[in-house]
Amino acid sequence: MKTPIESPIKSIDELQAALRDRRYFADRGLATTIFLALHLGKPLFLEGEAGVGKTEVAKVLASILDTELIRLQCYEGLDVHHAVYEWNYTRQMMHIRLMETQGQRPAEAELFGPEFLLRRPLLRAIEHAKPAVLLIDEVDRSDEEFEAFLLEILSDFQITIPEIGTIKAERSPVVVVTSNRTREVHDALKRRCLYAWIDYPSFERELEIVLSKVPDAPAALAREITAFVQELREADLYKLPGIAETLEWTAALVALDRDALDESVVGDTLGVLLKYRDDIEKVQGEEVATILGRVRAGA
């Protein structure tokens, strides 16, 4: 059994408050799951649509635990050379040449010493003296081979480098795995983790986020924006706007010096919210007017 990180957080309430201090507004269910992940020393598996704040959880956790965030972005074909370690070949070659000019030959052990080792995220996370937060981002983009490798790493947090030996984490890092569900991740991996589904936030929560993250936005505008985005998420769209889009849109409207929504400015800036041409065409014009009408009626 791995020793869980020594967490300064002793209760769910405390964690929720700490998250809030760092401007992350999690509902009680998510806070409970994160709290347990810290306490049981288990990886946290976060799923949800793009832009709901999955990656942000890892960043905020690193800040709460006052440690480094080590991020591994996944992609198809991700292998040991890019995830764990690689030898610095150029340096090795240079070293050999330099030695040769002095009429010497370097010993193999010297060439494969720590100074020629390039540490990739997984190795760095394992070597980190104070347990780091290891973010394995968008694991659905990787392939089965990497998933299998990850299973191995997550079970014992040790890495064997043939030339050096086995490196084992003294205390396991806090692991956050995220997925956008572009592919079903294997159950074996998910089973080892605490699972949380992050949904789009409610109106109140999203307004809270907008007001705290874009403090320049006038309160009335923030209300309108949030209500508009919430309405938009009810529409039949391919890609619904996430919180990230709401924040970008708010920033855009503030930059344009607006203090209220109207049809023309929404039409002009719709590209910040919607990222598919079909979606923009569908909403543009009448639909915008209808939603604006509903937003004003609700306000």
Binding site: G29, H39, E86, W87, Q92, D140, D187, C193
Partner: protein
């Protein structure tokens, strides 16, 4: 830790498993550990903790919450369990319906396989030949049974996809790590280059089949075909059926026993032999599933006769989107078997420009031809040789 609580948790785990959830015993033990830091008195915290540990698929969440309500809300987790819960669950599963007339009424689940092979064996060669050309819709139950066995003889070979994963080989990419190791003995002089090549993997297959009223006579066989394909191929086969709405049947088809799989499918699909709304079904597919199952260059097989009672504009927009996100889009139409068939229905007309292959599936021969056609596609999804279809331009338009 109270013994009754432990007992209740184990029982709850069993309940979840019976509802089809994948509950790991280790997570139940973790839940017990979690209850040292999460108060069991706070019902919603307890529920969130249990959910985080026991559920790991989003689609199971609602079922979990329902089961949790049923199991714990009306009673104290520390109290002894009653027999009522298991009774409730029994009822939820319901009595299995039989939608398809079984070829012989007394044929029970499991007895099928030995029967089939026997039937196929007693057929003479010429009988088999006739069977291969006979339209599925005109077959007698006995013939259908025989076809089932013959169907499994079709060899499916589908060209693999080149992935971005590299492995040692004879490709054009250098493998620095192995090169350096191998050449150390020459004192840093590189004489022997190690190379890597891209790995090949099977392409995922997605089947979207029409089970509406007009397809009724073919539905059973086409499901058998989907089931057979899922078994014969090593890759992932995702299957969906629709008439007025779309249902995913991938999990049901994973059953080892074919008859059992079909029975489970019939239970899962709410709208057998209803009207057809291809556009809506494809919309639902693109919307909910497209991004999840088309990721790795999937080959998509749509099976439908194209009799659409829905919105044609929607159909054409959705099929265009499906075409853009799939490796190759094949439309299989049982009506195409008739020699005088012309694709004139509005649905087919709207879809044709976006279909890579438009092929018949009305008899065994047409399935064999489909297998041959798929085997003939090259890695980019182009047709090699001359087996082009009559209705579509086989060179895939690039948008």
């Amino acid at each position: 830790m109270s013994g009754a609580l432990l007992h209740n948790l184990v029982l709850f785990g069993r309940v979840l498993r019976r509802l089809g959830m994948d509950v790991h015993p280790g997570r139940l033990a973790d839940l017990v550990a979690a209850l040292e830091v999460v108060s069991i008195g706070n019902r919603s915290d307890f529920q969130a903790a249990a959910r985080g540990l026991l559920v790991h698929r989003h689609e199971d969440m609602a079922r979990f919450d329902e089961a949790f309500e049923a199991f714990f809300t009306r009673r104290d987790p520390l109290a002894r369990p009653s027999a009522r819960v298991s009774g409730e669950l029994q009822r939820k599963k319901g009595a299995p319906l039989t939608l398809f007339a079984s070829p012989n009424a007394s044929d029970s689940v499991g007895a099928g396989s030995s029967d089939e092979s026997a039937t196929a064996d007693v057929l003479t060669y010429s009988e088999q030949e006739v069977l291969r050309r006979k339209d599925f819709a005109e077959m007698t139950p006995a013939e259908l049974q025989a076809v089932k066995a013959l169907m499994s003889e079709i060899a499916w070979r589908i060209r693999q996809r080149k992935t971005r994963r590299l492995r040692p080989g004879r490709g054009r990419l250098f493998d620095l790590r192995r090169t350096v190791r191998r050449n150390l003995r020459y004192g840093g002089e590189v004489l022997d280059w190690a190379r890597r090549e891209q790995k090949w993997k099977p392409r995922p297959i997605v089947i979207i089949a029409d089970v509406s009223g007009s397809m009724e006579r073919y539905s059973r066989l086409l499901l058998l075909f989907a089931c057979g394909l899922a078994k014969a191929l090593e890759q992932k086969v995702e299957a969906f059926v629709f008439s007025t709405r779309l249902t995913r049947i991938t999990r049901q088809l994973r059953q080892r026993n074919v008859e059992r799989a079909l029975q489970e499918v019939s239970l899962a699909v709410p709208d057998w032999s209803g009207g057809t709304r291809i556009g809506d079904a494809l919309h639902a597919f693109n919307f909910q599933w497209g991004r999840r199952v088309l990721g790795q260059g999937a080959l998509v097989l749509v099976v439908s006769d194209g009799w659409d009672r829905g919105d044609v504009g929607l159909l054409s927009a959705e099929i265009a989107r499906l075409h853009r996100s799939s490796h190759r889009l094949v439309w299989l139409n049982p009506l195409l078997g008739a020699p005088d068939y012309e694709p004139l229905t509005r649905g087919i007309q709207a879809a044709l420009p976006f279909i890579d292959d438009f092929l018949p599936v009305h008899n065994l021969d047409s399935l064999a031809a489909l297998a041959e056609h798929l085997a003939g596609l090259d890695e980019r999804g182009r047709v090699r040789g001359a087996n082009r279809s009559r209705w579509t331009d086989s060179s895939r338009p690039r948008i």
